[in-house]
Amino acid sequence: MKLIKLLFIPFILVGCWDSVEINNRSVILEFAIDKNIDTMDETVPINQRDVYDITYSIPDMAKMSGTESLAKDMKTNILVKSPTIATSLEELEIRTRNTVTFSHVKVVFLGEELLKDPKLLKEAIDSMTRTRSIARNVPMLAVKGKTEDAMNIENTQQPILGLYIMNYFNNKERPEAYFKTQILGNFIRDIQDSGVATMPIFHLPEGGQIPDTNKKSDDGAEKYNNEEEDNNTEDNKSEGEDSKSDDTVGEKNDTGFEISGGAVIKDYKLVDYIDKEIVRGQLIIDGSARNIPVVVEHNDNPLTYLAKRVKTKINFGEINNTMHAIINVNMIGEIAEYTTEFSLNEFNPSNMEEIRKLLSDEVYKQIEMTVNKAHELNTDFLNIGLTMYRKNPDMWEKYKHNWQESAFQNMPVYVNIDIDIENTGILR
């Protein structure tokens, strides 16, 4: 009897239902979502309209680990058109030998057209978070163009884009100077708190087209591979036009892409792109800037100051019933580059004062440019309103009702900058 009981026990052990052979799973490392810009038949019901273009990149683990494999390439990109993200999995899994898992997704790419459609973007974010399919600490990148082009880029440093992005963002030594990292959880939180969020831009390579072939199968799904084509190309990715033309050229481009600047999203809709100079100002105002180079001209020579860290505080005031914001910036760094003459004692106290003034003016211009851009877009991506709500809730009560319409746009912003020069390197 005891033996029978012992033999029976394994059948009720929970591993039976959820045991999965690791070889039967494909691990999706990068996830690219875009809007299908093909003309939609409006008579088709919503649940049957293929509004999404989702590109799944399925790596071959054996090839990645350097062992022998029958697979032709290290990764296979599969483009799926579907009405929802959940149904796209069904389309995907009928074309792959393995089932897929999102538990190790390293990056989420969002296409330009998707970012311009607030309803669709909201649905995409909901889909990613509702079933916990994508972790909340996964970085998000806005692609200036189509995401399938981003997925088809050949990178000689690291062929798997997801792993490249993972190493890129995990490198804590990297300066925080040209983009503001955005992860899925923080994006949701920022949108909920203030309605505004930014995410770094993944710029597609210019001049050489992505080498790919566009083969339509009978059932409408499109499969891309990484073979070169001897076709002419035109560079239309930055305008977000359809890059799946038949006359693409096969010019390979290694690391032609860059991650910099930011896409400003307001109420789930893309407002505009901001370049890395504007983002730099944003990082300074945020207080999260690190290792920012500031270059000024001093005595006909360029002088580079490396700001190691920034402390920023935003205060608010009211004069004659008009509110204003004062941004107090304290920058701490060192002089990284400047050509001095042997005989001259360049870095004496009076010179240092002059250098600090020059640096201060340069940083002021940077911040002013960023604030002006925010005013121009009438989008508070600097979180000044959120700061007012947190620190001066009574003042916020007075201005919150028209903050988005006019209060923010018309609000004067004053900047005080304090530059600390810790050292001049090992040279005087």
Binding site: W17, N137, G185, I188
Partner: protein, 368 residues
Amino acid sequence: MYTHNSRISMHQFRIMLTLQMFNMSILILPRICSTIVGQDGYWLPLFGFLIGSIYIFAITGLTNRFRGKSFVEYSKIILTKPIGILVTIMFLVKIIITIGFELRLFAEMIQRVLLPNTPLEVIMLLMLFATYYLIKSGVEAQGRMAEILVYFIFVPVVIVMLFIMFKADYNQLLPMFRSDVNKVLVGSFHTSVTFMPLEFVLVIGAFVNRPKKIRRCCFSALLVITILEVLIIILTFTGIGTIESSREFWPVLTLMESIQLPGSFIENQEILMMGWWIMSVFMYISAGVYVASLLVSQLCNFKRENVTIIPVIPFIFLIAVLPSSLLYAYDYFLKFQSKVGVVFLLIIPALMWLIAILRKVDGKHEAN
């Protein structure tokens, strides 16, 4: 060593109570607090501590008066036999329902995070059988298990919390003290109901070796849990925001998922953290099943206490499978806790204590 004398030390008692209060309610507490008072939610456990102190006084006031006697015995003494039996049955039903809902929520969470294809019933039955194996050996086994598990549960939790603390954006907690006083009172009450395992003291209090120190142990367990609740709520709000906390079923789970460990060499770390949580919920369910089986065996005057464990398990299982989905289970759990939770935390113990004082009965002098 207290071998086979059905006695646990005060150290074991304190740890058991702490682990029992560290249950599924903690996972959903940030949601409750953010829904009621927004970013001021982390203050609610502190006010809840004050209410919890009242619970402790009511419960320990009663148990101190009847040291060494179980709930079944002194309820008969205070309220007369028929009413005492009725109150005991009510207590039994209440515990079975509470443990059933707790088990259901636990199984739902396991299914979401760890075992998506495993039937809920299998998860629940395995948990129940595991608890049976622990509690069939009596309260001493539970005490010893608690002493071992406390390190496996709290040490990793503290390490993870320390890790999150240094990277948290504490501006998420601002502005402070903007909530309505009425909402704070309501929220504090809801938070205090998470201290429901204190009602087990009515039964387990008979097995401690130094009954005079029960009150002190209860307070220290309550303090530890209050501090943990405050920290968890703060970290949840700073990690995922107050609005998202109020939307999620288990905001603490989402917080664990959003942690970025350096180097990315460990991913899906929330699965590891859930493993520690399972142990804590195991202790709570064990205690609930033990108390329920003990009440049955004492009501029926069985000499051996562990014969009633197996009969109690199907009832708990039936309650657990009753809700048709997570949505209903969650709803029933919260409503039951808020409406019935305080009955055996405060109302019944306080009434019984008062009646005992008025009738001048205690453990030494029973009424004629």
